[in-house]
């Protein structure tokens, strides 16, 4: 099955990105496809490479980057939401790309299920 994932909250403040991450890992382990992970609202803050959590905490941003590399995930950050919040190409973490909201609609069309994580 093809899953589309929508993440609407940033890292650390809300659990949304953590839950989405565990969901995506579990789905991949079961042999499902992840059509795209789309970051919207404050979710775009999951994509900044300037994130620097204490060493004994998980690095949410790097975790996504690594999972994307390993599984060729398409991590898309909404351009309008990103510009509003100061996320741009210069501070974008590896594995993420900035694109339009149309990519979210496309995910809704192409994926078998769209699962939203937010607040």
């Amino acid at each position: 099955m093809k899953f589309g994932i929508l993440i609407n909250e940033g890292p650390y403040t809300h659990q949304a990105s953590d839950t989405a991450f565990q969901f995506v890992k579990a789905a991949l382990a079961k042999g499902h496809q992840i059509q795209r992970v789309f970051f919207y609202n404050d979710g775009v803050n999951n994509a900044t490479k300037l994130t620097d959590p204490p060493q004994d905490d998980r690095n949410i941003v790097n975790r996504w980057s690594e999972l994307a590399k390993e599984h060729k995930l398409d991590l898309v950050v909404c351009v309008a939401a990103a510009l509003r919040r100061g996320i741009r190409e210069d501070n974008l973490a590896a594995g993420f790309r900035i694109s339009g909201l149309g990519q979210l609609i496309e995910t809704g069309i192409q994926a078998d299920r769209l699962v939203t994580f937010g607040d």
């Binding site: 919207y40 609202n41 309008a80 339009g100 909201l101 149309g102 809704g108 069309i109 769209l114 939203t116």
Partner: protein, 128 residues
Amino acid sequence: MSEEMSESGVVKKFMYVNRKAPYGTIYALESLEVVLIAAAFDQDVSLAFIDDGVYQVAKGQDTKSIGVKNFSSTYRALDDYDINKLYVQKESMEARGLTDKDFLVPVEIKTAAELSALMEQQDVLLSF
């Protein structure tokens, strides 16, 4: 404003479930931005306003003094985008002392039961 884009012939039913009031948080505005883009994909789009979401389409919004853009007028443009299925949940409306005269766009008032039947028919639900 966005340039046109065409999709393969798939038409899915998309429902936007709006449960948050405008201005206090950004969800109402950014949900509306998704809806405007969605219109270019020729999908079957509907909007549901539930709980505090009903305040999004309440008449008379005036944001001058808070220094925030008043995007309530944009709901009136949805018809130009061929988006005309706007549902306000009846119990939510009544609980907030609103009536069908209090909205800035034509909306259909639906009970929770009617709305849940519509929700069941959807392929994709986006909640903000």
